[in-house]
Every structure is written in structure tokens, then in C-alpha cells.
């Protein structure tokens, strides 16, 4: 029972991260390998804010994702926008290279041991649930991620803006002909995806050591989540993220040695049975 709960916490991180990836892939057709680095940047910005400017956790939760989002927009405007018409591979290589550069810069500046970032005072301590001790902070992580995930899903699937966005990706020329500024939409989407990664980074900062490597440890698993959920499927990535977190938690208990691989075993099986992923649409 306790392990399930912990799995849900990890699943929340997977969900928010894979959601950002799914949004970017679904709307822009870019496989964003820089996502892990953006996540790391979010965490680092939170730490830097506290260390150099005295900005607390709650402000960081808003400011860091915004900064990462702006950074994402700069990347999109200066580099990514030239790649949409080319093969996926170009976007993948560019973002992978960017990830290496960003991580390298942070490693150079701060080393890999990481920086301490403590849990905000309001959320220290925990509930005793009887079967386990749940730190307040972990509970907050679940709530915050679910709220963000739901908000994103709602925004894209149920609002007018979301409809424009989906139209812009479906048929950019026609959408533009209706007077909608497609490049602007695309730019904002990438910025939003990046901001989601930054948000996950701030959420993670008090839980795991803020280190330049934190993103690269996680990104491969998150990609597996996106593939299992179905590339580009928003609901799929949220549900798969949570589900896989729980499965990983159970594996940790039953056979810890397999916890690092279980996600990939599932990915292989899903790809064999449903190549488009659990929630993906066959093309």
C-alpha cells in the first residue's frame, strides 16, 4: 500500500514530464530530447532564486517555469522553427545536442553532487496514514501535478484556443487562411511544453538533489512513458505516467533489481501488441 502511494508520486513526475513531451510532439512533431535539460533548469532556477535572490519556493513555482518557458521560446524561434519541414531526426538531434550543451554548462559551473534545496516550511512534516508515513510534500506533488495535467488536457481538448491549436497542427495552411497566427501558436506551444518541464523541475527540487544530471537520469524513462501512452496522446501520457509509476513502485518491492528495466519491458510488449501505443491512433 505504501509502495503504491510512492509509485503514484513518481508517476506524477512522469506524467507532467511526458505530458510536456506529448504536447510538443503532438503539436509540433518535434521529439524534444532537451526536455530533461529543461526539467533540470527548472530545478536549478528554483535553487538559484533562493541562493542568490532570496526567492522562495512558492514564487519559484511560478517564476522558474515562466523563465524556462521563455528560454524554450527562444530555442523555438532561433533554431527549431527551421526544422518543422524536415524529418523528425533533425529535431531529435538538435534537441539532444542542446540537452548535452545545457547539462555540460551546468556541470561545469556546479559539479554533479548537486545543491541542497529544502522543503518549504509549510509542507514539512507529514500525515500518518496508518499504513505509511506520507510527507506533506509528496502529497502536494500528487495534487499539483494532477491539477496541471488536468488543466492542460482541458485546455487543449475542450477550449477554443485548444481547438485552434489542434487545427493549426492538422492543417497549418488552412488555419492560417482563417486568420489565425500559426507560427505564434506553435511558438507558444513549445514554450508551454518547456514550462511544464520547468514546473516538474521545481516540484522535484526539494525531493531529489538538484544536480545537472537529474534530467538525463529521468528522460529515457519518460520517453518510454510517451511511447507506451502513444506518441502525442495527451490523456495517454498522463494515465501511462501515473500507471507506470505505480508499477515501478510494486517492482521495487517485489524484485528491486528489475525496477530500472520494468518500464522498458512493458514498452517492448506494448510496441509488439499495439505499435501506436496504448492511447495512440493508428495512422
Amino acid at each position: 500500500m505504501g509502495q503504491l502511494m510512492l509509485g503514484l508520486v513518481n508517476g506524477s513526475f512522469y506524467a507532467v514530464l511526458s505530458l510536456g513531451l506529448a504536447v510538443i510532439f503532438g503539436m509540433l512533431n518535434i521529439i524534444n530530447f532537451a526536455h530533461g535539460a529543461l526539467y533540470m533548469m527548472g530545478a536549478f532556477l528554483a535553487w538559484m532564486g533562493l541562493e542568490y535572490l532570496g526567492i522562495g519556493y512558492w514564487q519559484a513555482l511560478v517564476l522558474a517555469p515562466l523563465t524556462v518557458g521563455v528560454f524554450g521560446i527562444v530555442i523555438e524561434r532561433t533554431m527549431l522553427q527551421w526544422l518543422y519541414k524536415l524529418d523528425h531526426l533533425y529535431g531529435l538531434l538538435l534537441t539532444f545536442g542542446l540537452a548535452l550543451v545545457i547539462e555540460g554548462l551546468f556541470t561545469n559551473g556546479y559539479g554533479v553532487s548537486g545543491q541542497p534545496y529544502s522543503i518549504p516550511a509549510e509542507l514539512s512534516g507529514g500525515f500518518n496514514l496508518g499504513f505509511m508515513f506520507l510527507p506533506h510534500y509528496r502529497g502536494w506533488v500528487i495534487l499539483a501535478s494532477l491539477a496541471v495535467c488536468f488543466g492542460t488536457w482541458f485546455g487543449i481538448e475542450k477550449t477554443r484556443l485548444g481547438a485552434y491549436l489542434r487545427a493549426a497542427t492538422e492543417n497549418p495552411k488552412l488555419t492560417q487562411a482563417f486568420g489565425i497566427n500559426v507560427p505564434l501558436m506553435v511558438m507558444l506551444t513549445y514554450g508551454f511544453g518547456a514550462a511544464l518541464a520547468g514546473f516538474a523541475g521545481v516540484l522535484a527540487a526539494p525531493v531529489i538533489q538538484v544536480s545537472p544530471l537529474m534530467g538525463s537520469h529521468l528522460i529515457i524513462t519518460v520517453f518510454a512513458v510517451v511511447v507506451i501512452g502513444g506518441m502525442g496522446s495527451i490523456l495517454g501520457s498522463i494515465l501511462t505516467g501515473l500507471g507506470l509509476g505505480v508499477i515501478e513502485g510494486i517492482t521495487n518491492l517485489l524484485y528491486p533489481a528489475a525496477s530500472a528495466t520494468v518500464v522498458f519491458v512493458i514498452m517492448a510488449i506494448v510496441l509488439l501488441v499495439r505499435p501506436a501505443g496504448l492511447f495512440g491512433k493508428e495512422q
Binding site: 509502495q3 510512492l6 553532487s113 544530471l213
Partner: protein
């Protein structure tokens, strides 16, 4: 009797030859392959252990070479190359092979990962060069997998277990549960610590093995908590130890159970802060603030890197200096001759007092039991440890009497 006679005869035959050998050893007649001594630093440049060695190790080795040149003015060239072993045994051993075969590297050092170090030791033996392992911890390097070409320099899992492990059991921590990094180093450390715990009357209640670079430790810690062991032994290192300690304090586990970081480096303490780590007992072979000599080295190192040296980085400096001195004394960079010289000559520098390299390759030197200071006791940056006791090398390391090393005559 017959054997004895034979030995005497051989010895008698060799004695007249000995002065000739010594005469050749004069600096003017150095016998060097390619008239150069080349040292390879094989380390983790960007991964989870790169703060323990990494760029800092490269800096320390360069300092050692520069200092050696300035002090001894050798007539031969000394060069350094470095590479990233990425904590992968195949990457490390391929790099070492390439260095030995094509670049004329004479000695490889640092090696932050036991899996890598064991693989490189094999290649080194095959190519008849020298490997001085500083960063990796597995006792296998000088026990069942010892080679005539290996020196294991700064510490090993046995000494970690034997110093801090013993002290913790004696202070009442007699039931243990292990969180173990699932590879050669973690397994070695768990086994050695379990042996020490049991030998001192304690009990091991269980263990859980996690993959290297596990991102989340909460589920393992919950299992440790359920075991109700008084001590949770962290048989891992670097980022894994840091994340485990962080999660343990978050889940309130540290209120009822104690954590024992079996291999903690000063960079880990720096990353976690004294608030989280205060009071922890740990083993180290080096502390920058021990005496004037260590402070002098540490200050010079700090000026270059803006960090204090870890046990590994200081050990790299000392190992390279020891090696270069042995090359000069032996008059050659031939591995067998240099190894013989190193094993004969005591090591005296800021790192080791009367250190000796044993027949199995283990460098024996004093180890320290440290306690992490309270935040209020720390007076200046990096003022983190109290030295609780000094454990003499011959007590800290595994005695030769129980060694499985084929070089040890029983």
C-alpha cells in the same frame, strides 16, 4: 635441503651482478620506453562520480607532475592524458588498451568505479603496465582478483566497513539493514560491512539492492523502515547516497533509525549541508584540514578548482608522486621493476605517513573515523569533520592471513 642449496647458489650468482644493475640505474642511464613517462587518468568526467575524481583528479595529477618536475628536475618527459570511462567496464578497458597499445601510457590511475577498475586491472596485467586504483573501492582488486601490476591506493570497502562499521556497532547500532548499489562496489561493501557487524556481535536483518543512479529512494527506504533495524547502512556512493539521505530525512526515518553512509566524500557532505548530515560517522583516508601539510596541499588545490580535494583527488596526487619517484629510483619504466621499487619504499607525504604497498598491491596507511560537525561547530567553509580516532593501517585493512590473493604466500 636441496632447495636451500639451490637458492643459495642462485643468490651467490646474482650478488656480483647487483652492483652492475645499480650502476645502470643512475639517472643518466634511465631506460625508458619512448624516453617518456606517460600517465593516463581514467575517470568519470561527467557522471554520478565525477565530483569525487573527474576534472579534479586531472588537476591533482597535473599538480603532482608539475611539482615532481620542479623538485626532481627529471631528465625525461612526463606527460598526462585523460579520458572518461563513463562508469562502463567496456569503455574503460578499451580506453586503457588503446592507451597501452598506441600511446605508450605507462601507468593508469584514478578509476572511480569498481567494475571499470577490475576490467582495467586485467588489461594492465596483460600489457605489463601499472594501474594505481584510487577511486574504486572493491576489495576484490587486491583479494581474489589481485594482479602483480595493481596498486590499490586510498581506501577499500574492507577498511570502510572496519572503521566506521565497527565504531557504529560498538556505539550500540547492532541491527543493520542495507541499501546497496547493485554492482561490484556495493556488493563488496555490503559483504565486508556485514562481516564486521556479525563479528562484533551485531545482526544483519536484510538488504535491498538498487540500480546505480536510482532516481527515487523512498520505496527502498520504506522497506528499510519496515525491517526496524537500528542502522540503515548505505552501501552506495555519490549521488545515490545523497538522494537516499535526502529521502530518509523527508520521510522522518532518521527520527527512529540511524543512517550510516559507508562511503561518504566531503563533496557529498558539502552538497547535503551540515543540517542534514550532522553527527554521521564515516571513514576517510584523508581530510584536508588534518594538519599543516594537508592544508597546504588543499589550499593550492582549492585555488585551482574552488573546491576542497576529496580523498580520491588527494590520493591521485600522492599515487602519481609515488609512481614517479619509483620510476626514477628503478631507473626504468618497466612495470615489474617499478612495482618492486614501490613495494620496497615507504610512502611519506601529506597523504600517508609511513604508508607501505603490500605484496598484494594494497597501500596500507592510517584511516580516520570522522564525525560530521553540527552547523554551530563549523567555523569556516568546508570545516565539516571532527577526527574521532585514527585507525592504524594494519588494523584498518584486511590482514594478509585471510587474503585470497595468489601473490600472497601462505
Amino acid at each position: 635441503m636441496k632447495h636451500k642449496l639451490l637458492c643459495v647458489a642462485i643468490a651467490a650468482a646474482l650478488i656480483p651482478a647487483a652492483p652492475a644493475v645499480l650502476a645502470q640505474a643512475k639517472p643518466a642511464a634511465m631506460k625508458l620506453s619512448d624516453n617518456m613517462v606517460k600517465i593516463g587518468v581514467l575517470t568519470d568526467m561527467s557522471g554520478v562520480y565525477s565530483d569525487l575524481g573527474g576534472q579534479g583528479a586531472v588537476t591533482a595529477v597535473q599538480m603532482a607532475i608539475d611539482d615532481f618536475k620542479a623538485q626532481y628536475k627529471p631528465k625525461f618527459k612526463i606527460e598526462m592524458v585523460y579520458a572518461d570511462h563513463q562508469n562502463k567496464a567496456d569503455v574503460g578497458s578499451n580506453k586503457a588498451r588503446e592507451w597501452y597499445d598506441t600511446q605508450g601510457v605507462d601507468m593508469v590511475t584514478d578509476l572511480l568505479n569498481s567494475g571499470v577498475a577490475l576490467a582495467v586491472a586485467k588489461v594492465t596485467q596483460e600489457k605489463k603496465r601499472v594501474v594505481m586504483v584510487v577511486g574504486a573501492g572493491s576489495t576484490r582488486l587486491t583479494d581474489q582478483d589481485c594482479t602483480p601490476n595493481t596498486v590499490h591506493y586510498a581506501y577499500d570497502t574492507y577498511s570502510l566497513a572496519n572503521v566506521a562499521g565497527k565504531a557504529i556497532v560498538k556505539n550500540g547500532g547492532d541491527t543493520w539493514f542495507f541499501l546497496t548499489a547493485d554492482y561490484a562496489f556495493g556488493q563488496s561493501l555490503e559483504k565486508d560491512t556485514s562481516d564486521v557487524v556479525k563479528a562484533n556481535g551485531g545482526k544483519v536483518l536484510g538488504s535491498v539492492r538498487h540500480p546505480l543512479n536510482a532516481s527515487d529512494f523512498s520505496s527502498y527506504l520504506l522497506q528499510a523502515q519496515a525491517s526496524k533495524a537500528k542502522i540503515i547502512g548505505l552501501a552506495n556512493a555519490g549521488g545515490d547516497t545523497i538522494n537516499a539521505i535526502k529521502a530518509a530525512s523527508e520521510f522522518g526515518i532518521t527520527k527512529t533509525q540511524h543512517l550510516a553512509g559507508l562511503l561518504m566524500f566531503i563533496t557529498d557532505i558539502h552538497a547535503l549541508g551540515l543540517q542534514t548530515t550532522q553527527g554521521m560517522l564515516l571513514t576517510s583516508g584523508f581530510y584536508w584540514d588534518k594538519d599543516d601539510a594537508t592544508r597546504k596541499f588543499a589550499k593550492r588545490y582549492f585555488d585551482k578548482t574552488k573546491r576542497m580535494p576529496t580523498m580520491v583527488q588527494a590520493g591521485d596526487y600522492s599515487a602519481v608522486t609515488t609512481y614517479l619517484k619509483a620510476v626514477v629510483a628503478a631507473g626504468t619504466d618497466d612495470a615489474a621493476a617499478v612495482m618492486k621499487k614501490m613495494k620496497e619504499t615507504p610512502i611519506n607525504d601529506f597523504f600517508a605517513k609511513n604508508g607501505t604497498i603490500r605484496v598484494d598491491g594494497r597501500m596500507i596507511h592510517d584511516m580516520y573515523l570522522m564525525q560530521v560537525k553540527k552547523p554551530s561547530e563549523s567555523k569556516y567553509p568546508w570545516d565539516y569533520y571532527d577526527i574521532k580516532s585514527v585507525v592504524p593501517g594494519n588494523e584498518a585493512y584486511q590482514p594478509l592471513s585471510v587474503s585470497h590473493c595468489s601473490l600472497v604466500k601462505k
